[in-house]
């Protein structure tokens, strides 16, 4: 039986990043991925001769070349990449739009400060207080992590609308908890969106994935696609190895899993001992509209718009329908400051994300599923055009994917995008040598998942080898 130092379940961002760290430091590593391609929640595909990204609206935590601080600088260093490898270009500018109020922001916090001063003059100094209360990445501990962000914000601000508007983008891009947000997660997302901001490579997510997988392979890491893990074999206290869907068994000194907390527990032979962890509930439909022009030509020059059609922002699974189109995210990958040599993206693209309910989507028969996809494309676009120029006459092609699609390609329960509400920050499980990385460990998003893979590899696979 083939034996590895570390087996990694999942070739998403976190698994690939962990794999690079371990292969670089001479471990014999194997990444096992059930799907026929890499990327997980943030992969890419081709349809009718066009390239699409599954998830990429924006890479968060944008920093310019030469920056020494922040998660991107850290992950580039740890993975031995240079800034130029990822070719991140800054956003043009984004906005949070609620009825009658719009807050613009970009990669310089001064704009948001000025917007708050102009639109919520009484809250200007309070915003400064909030900035001082944010806790740095490295200083977050378990205790403060779980505090209620709403409660903390209510103590600082006296304008409820501003609280809702500040929370909206942060919840949209990284909150697994319904209604409220863990304060630790709030601090992480605040930094990654408002203090650092958005960037994107001209070539989209495939550029990032290509670099990750190339480096991993060049370092001698093994990647087995179409190799789902059916079972984690245990001896009671430890994981001994895995059994694949096709029956092959592989041995490992330790296992890192990015499959999710509940999903990983289910793979263990001894699941009766596992703690009950709740799977996440928040998932989306994503519609992509290809236009016959650049979005700028119809008057849309924003990178991302987070909209909500009432003063109260509802961050919950839809209660009565397949989707809840009261709030959404509009993104145009065209609206980044690409280099002159890169030019413009060939197609005009409008991406739209809407909250959805996994169970309702999964319960539809084939015909209704197809019909509902079309219906919710129309409904979500109709909702979005209240907050941007109407682009419907310019659409030449569309694609929609649903929570069912997300579930099928990533095997996350409920098609949950940000995983379980309760995170396992130290990555530990009931087995001594089985660890979680990625979404359910704690950090979400592209940058978050990569940082998670690195941290867990460092903490549990590299540091321990030193003693």
């Amino acid at each position: 039986m083939e034996e590895f130092d570390t087996i990694i379940i999942g070739a998403g961002m976190s698994g690939l990043a962990a794999g690079i760290r371990l292969a670089y430091f001479d471990q014999k590593v194997c990444i096992l991925e059930r799907h026929y391609t890499i990327g997980g929640l943030n992969s890419f595909y081709r349809l009718n001769h066009r390239d699409y990204d599954v998830g990429l609206h924006a890479v968060t935590n944008f920093v310019g070349k030469g920056a020494k601080k922040g998660p991107i600088a850290k992950l580039l260093r740890q993975l031995r990449f240079s800034w130029d490898d990822f070719q991140l270009r800054p956003q043009l500018g984004s906005a949070v739009v609620f009825p009658d109020v719009e807050l613009n922001f970009n990669n310089d916090i001064e704009l948001l400060k000025a917007e708050i001063a102009a639109k919520f003059p009484t809250q200007r100094d309070r915003f400064e207080i909030l900035l001082k209360q944010l806790v740095d990445y490295d200083d977050l501990n378990d205790e403060m992590f779980g505090l209620s962000s709403r409660k903390i914000l209510q103590e600082i601000f006296t304008e409820p609308l501003l609280i809702e508007m500040l929370l909206c983008p942060l919840m949209w891009y990284g909150n697994a908890r319904e209604n409220d947000m863990d304060f630790g997660q709030f601090c992480i997302m605040f930094r990654s969106i408002y203090l650092e901001g958005f960037g994107r490579p001209f070539k989209g997510v495939r550029l990032i994935l290509k670099h990750l997988v190339r480096k991993y392979r060049a370092l001698g890491g093994q990647l087995k696609l179409r190799s789902g893990v059916a079972k984690i074999i245990t001896d009671g206290e430890h994981a001994v190895g895995v059994e694949l869907d096709n029956g092959t068994q592989l041995k490992a000194k330790r296992i890192l899993s990015s499959a999710g907390a509940v999903e990983t527990m289910r793979l263990c032979e001894d699941t009766s001992e596992s703690k009950v962890v709740q799977a996440g509930q928040l998932t989306f439909i994503e519609s992509i509209s290809v236009l016959d022009c650049q979005p700028k030509e119809i008057g849309f020059d924003k990178t991302i718009v987070f909209y909500n059609d009432s003063p109260q922002f509802h961050w919950t699974r839809p209660q009565t329908e397949l989707c809840d189109a009261r709030t959404g995210v509009i993104c145009s990958p065209n609206n980044y400051l690409y280099d002159a040599t890169e030019g413009e993206l060939q197609d005009g693209i409008i991406r739209l994300t809407t909250i959805a309910d996994y169970n309702r989507w999964a319960g539809l028969d084939e015909n209704s599923y197809r019909r509902e996809k079309l219906r919710w494309y129309d409904l979500s676009v109709a909702s979005a055009v209240r907050f941007m120029p109407d682009f419907r006459r310019r659409v030449i092609e569309t694609d929609v994917f649903t929570p069912k699609t997300i579930r099928r390609f990533t095997h996350h329960d409920n098609g949950a995008v940000y995983g379980a509400p309760k995170k396992q920050l130290d990555g530990r499980t009931h087995l001594k040598n089985l660890f979680l990385c990625g979404t359910d460990q704690g950090f979400v998003g592209i940058v978050g998942a990569i940082v998670s893979g690195i941290s867990i590899a460092n903490m549990h696979c590299l540091r321990t080898e030193l003693s």
Binding site: F25, K68, K74, L466, S467
Partner: protein
């Protein structure tokens, strides 16, 4: 390796671990932390690189010896004396 070679090796490792730092003016007697932006992840990387390149193992309780270039070189000298520079 001679102390001078060990110093060069550490500089090379630092240039990998912290490529954006200017190492030209590094003062040997001063703490790394005062001159470079290194966090605990970077220190772990220095230790891991030494293991990867030279099989030198530094136990966690000895990390304090890696505070400055001077202290690092004198700590590593007995451990790396017999390594032939390639």
């Amino acid at each position: 390796m001679t102390p001078a070679q060990i110093r060069d090796e550490i500089l090379d490792i630092l240039s990998k671990v912290a490529p954006d730092e200017d190492l030209s003016g590094l003062e040997d007697a001063k703490n790394f932390r005062e001159q470079l932006e290194l966090d605990s992840m970077d220190f772990l990387d220095i230790v891991l690189e030494l293991k990867r390149r030279h099989r030198v193992i530094i136990p966690e309780e000895d990390y304090g010896n890696l505070a400055s270039m001077a202290s690092t070189v004198s700590y590593l000298e007995p451990k790396m004396r017999d390594i032939v520079k390639s």
